[in-house]
Point group: D2
Chain length 358, copies 4
């Protein structure tokens, strides 16, 4: 196995199994002398926690972050920032009966085939619990970016077939968090809650979409060929558990448009060149053009459902399975801070890279 | 600028401007002793060439590939395989008038801002001509994969608003190429041709979608966290010029499904475990599960259109622009071999990586 | 700062300051299913600890290694192996008076200039305490290699001007450890001890050399151009604190030899081709040739000495300094396990890489 | 095979076999807008060519460099700079008889074992001819560095047992080139020439050492742990064919010194802190301290000698070999520009990296 590091100049190396001793990460390349706001960090990490709502796992993820290195007197040293979050409420006993069974649409089967050994407790390394390391690193990156007026916000835009209405302005994080589902459309939210309550009764789960916005970007982020801004964002998003699709700007809708409809004309305002529309989603030829970058990610319904399902055990025998663990009904809205975190890691990495271009 | 290399163990480094001396690439990590079929390679590279149809640029891209290293007596040596394609039919004069103008939705503006210098002729490094290097490398990778019975095929599934009907079987490359638009649905193709002819008269351009299929994969490709198979594919696809969206398996549609609808049940057939449905698109937890991997990519309409457009020059003054160069009406169907090539590079890289896991 | 990761397929990411919460590392790419011998690991890590002799720092480095991930029921999972060693006996108070003073030949000055902030306590990230993470990772790698009959042993070959006599056979680790100075020549050792005792009285320090041997290597490790075996070894060795020189095979002596003296003739024995001499040090053209790989590393005297020295404070004012901390008299013999560890990381990385060549 | 790329932010990917179509390279990450002096480049590449002296191969290496990309109107575009040098005077016929024979101390044997296929003509990829790509890239890097007053100069300090006397000032490139052996000590040079003439009669070859100096460096180059300046330099030097040893500052001699002899005291002059001596060789803790960086590299005698030698063929049968090709008597002085080139690549890479630290 490899691929546990993300980024080139700002590099997060993540580690940890769901029910091992700890989840954690090491951030290499974070510039020196940056003062960290730990309260803000704690609150950002808290946003990933199971909500109090009944749609969320009742696993008590306290997610106390302990920093082990790279910070002295609240300032970054320039050296690697290591942190751990102990797995305190791991109930392995829940999982004992899954030791020899491959849960449908989970990674149990492929992991066993690939590595011939697995930590079956809670999905091990394939658990979404791994994303807490991303949120910690992303929270630091967001603090860094905000000092440069770069803001990242993500918001739930649909759950199941219920779609929020199109946003006319970018919501603030506070506005997003004022919604229990992190959906900016309060009317849609009511329908979504209703939908989720029904699913809960059915022991089923829901998917949805998240939209994200990056504002305050300088012109020039992203590299022209393989490291296009959108390529880095897509890789970041598709590395999140349950993500199934990524689009930016007009996305899939652009495939139906004509060039004359899709092209953004350049214009000059207050002496600065920008585009009169933003079909492009803030990126031309892989490089940020100074407009707002926006993209959308689709998440499938969570594979762990209470309904009885058919599957096989590790001898290939057909068995029935009823997953009784503490699971979310949907990754939305908890995936919102993860989307923001991964976005921040991409943006900060490209920002550092941009310093070396000229 | 960086980011001109793609892959970890099989690494393509690409170079060249549209109107410079040559486009080319260096492939590092290709295993030794592999016999190359040059006829097949030539024919694969030919698939990227402008078609004889009137929808395609009349630039005569001969794309004669010269191999400079890494091959001896038709076999790979294990050393880097370098190749070049001379830019023989580059007509710089066409572009002289674009020297000081930023074409709408092109990379001219961002490139100038980022690097403060640009080769304005034909988009320079941002030209889609760069993709010929990917097709050469991808053709070699496909030959390697085919020896292991891994097959990759892409097909145009929509142009503009015209959608081909759902494929019930995966077409062969020959079937795809028997269509001038590389669309497997002959009825839809007629409508598409009609649509493109109208666009041509309007001096406009079209977008569309391409679906791709990978069959014959072993179980175990892809890494569990940041290097998930889908993350690598998404990065590969979103690095192609004009790509705006990526989805795999049920993709965006999965966001509307319930877990019980989306989950694929495991079953045993002839002693082998597989899934009874394939909503997942052949990947669980970032790792291939032995089923067919399928994904779709959305491409926006080409930015170069003949219609008069508003834009600004490099002093920020408003000007009208009429792009008269030799342009395609749509990247479909020429993008089909590019999608296949990038897919092959990802698959072969992960295949080499898999050798180191155990 | 970057550069806290070492290796390509087997990658150690190291973190931690001398007087921070912990030193640690994350090993990515370690193959799955390998059973770890923790007793052996503990004993290997113990070899780096200050010796009981009076030549060694009296800092009590307990170096209790806690593994946080990547291992389940004593076997590697294929996922990243994270570990930490708490800094329990850090006496920051010793260092308070060094807050504004740049110790001669230490990294204090350059760190301050480079990062504009530093953790002055015990050298922070520049402390040799960082190497404990290397020894842990290297111990795991050595266990892996030993299963394939690849053995690595390092031995002190000189301290100050006192040189051990040439080894005619490669000592075992046990033989090396039977010497308090890890010097295989018992007669030289007596002189070395005498020398060190004098230096101690003088409040001075000593340098020395370590020789290392790798036996049991397959033919084919190392890559022909930039990743030559010797290039990787050299980078590994020169990344160790206080290392000043690296040579392999005949090393600097080879510069004085004639081709006819230095060339190793090939010969066949029991059906296998090998060389009749080994001036090359087991490597031809960057690739292991099946003979024993041997190299030597020079270490300068430790910069921390008790003698009064002249230096400047961070205002540039001339001051006298008397370093009273708990320091070693020499990095030899404690550097022996570090040399072995870094060697093991290089060899295992190249071994994994070799699997992808064919 | 991998490892044909060197550097992180400034990355040279090298390709080509000795008797293939061409040797070449791709430089990614070179900043945009830099004006290249092609005359100077040509002259630098010329320095690597066989000298007119009788100690040098009579292969006529014209080394005409053709740039294929990344440069427009003599300025760098920020895109990858690709270049090729055709192999015009390759006489494969010389090598036909070596097809089945492993030359002593050459890479023939290990290459065959590793890759099971080889281009036996002139060593293929293992030929020192590969270094011409390094010299081209290094020449560009040197031009970039010189604009920032960073100068690199290398000089032959010994051939065989004949040592030039210690340099009291760093010679200029012109002074170095005024010597046919690139040795700054004219008296030693006479003895060296005499020595080489004798070796020629004996059909033998010589080794030697090169010292290098980097002046004008800012404080702060190099990273504290694995990417120490000296680790990067060592890897660079040890990747050069025939290099057997590397040392910097006092190097191996430092192992014999006491701390009080080796430590460099800080002092303030004209308001700037520097060291009163430079035993360290300009680097503390892996980071440049503003003093001159100096290091030395040992090169073994060339393996190709005219004397009859014993070896085996690829069936393992004992044979005699008499190498009659056009070979140098020694890599010195032709290795001087290669040492400078590799140094320049390291320094420029670290310089770009330093921009991202703060």
């Amino acid at each position: 196995m490899s691929g546990n590091s993300f980024g080139k100049l700002l590099k997060l190396t993540s580690f940890g199994e769901s029910h091992g001793a700890a989840i954690g990460g090491v951030i290499d390349g974070f510039p020196a002398g940056f003062e960290i706001n730990f309260d803000k960090l704690k609150s950002e990490v808290g946003r990933r926690k199971p909500t109090k709502s009944s749609f969320s796992t009742q696993r008590n993820e306290d997610d106390e972050v302990e920093f082990l290195s790279g910070i002295y007197q609240s300032k970054t040293l320039g050296s690697p920032i290591a942190f751990i979050i102990r797995n305190t409420d791991a109930q392995a006993v829940d999982y004992e009966k899954l030791k020899h069974i491959f849960r449908p649409s989970h990674a149990d089967f492929v992991w066993q085939e690939k590595f011939k050994i697995r930590d079956y407790r809670g999905g091990g390394r394939s658990s979404a619990r791994e994303t807490v390391a991303r949120v910690v690193a992303g929270a630091l990156a967001q603090q860094f970016l905000e000092k440069q007026n770069i803001k990242i916000v993500a918001v739930v835009t649909s759950i199941g077939k219920i779609k929020g209405k199109l946003l006319t302005t970018i919501p603030t994080k506070e506005e997003v968090d004022s919604s229990i589902l992190r959906c900016a459309d309060k009317e849609a939210e009511i329908l979504m809650i209703d939908y989720l309550q029904n699913l809960k009764a059915e022991k089923d789960s829901a998917g949805g979409t998240v939209s994200a916005y990056i504002s305050g970007l300088p012109i020039g982020l992203g590299e022209p060929v393989f490291d296009k801004f959108q390529a880095r964002l897509a890789a970041a998003m598709m590395s999140i558990n349950t993500a199934k699709g990524f689009e930016y700007g007009e996305g899939f809708a652009s495939a139906k448009m004509k060039g004359s409809e899709h092209n953004d004309y350049f214009t000059t305002e207050s002496g600065k060149i920008h585009t009169s529309t933003n079909h492009a989603g803030g990126i031309n030829g892989g490089i940020s053009n100074g407009e707002i970058v926006n993209f959308k990610v689709a998440f499938k319904p969570i594979a762990s459902i209470g309904k009885i399902q058919k599957t096989v055990d590790d001898n290939g025998n057909q068995v029935d399975i009823e997953i009784s663990g503490r699971h979310d009904l949907t990754v939305l809205p908890r995936v919102v801070p993860i989307v923001e975190a991964m976005t921040a890691l991409v943006v900060m990495d490209l920002l550092l890279l941009m310093k070396t271009n000229k």
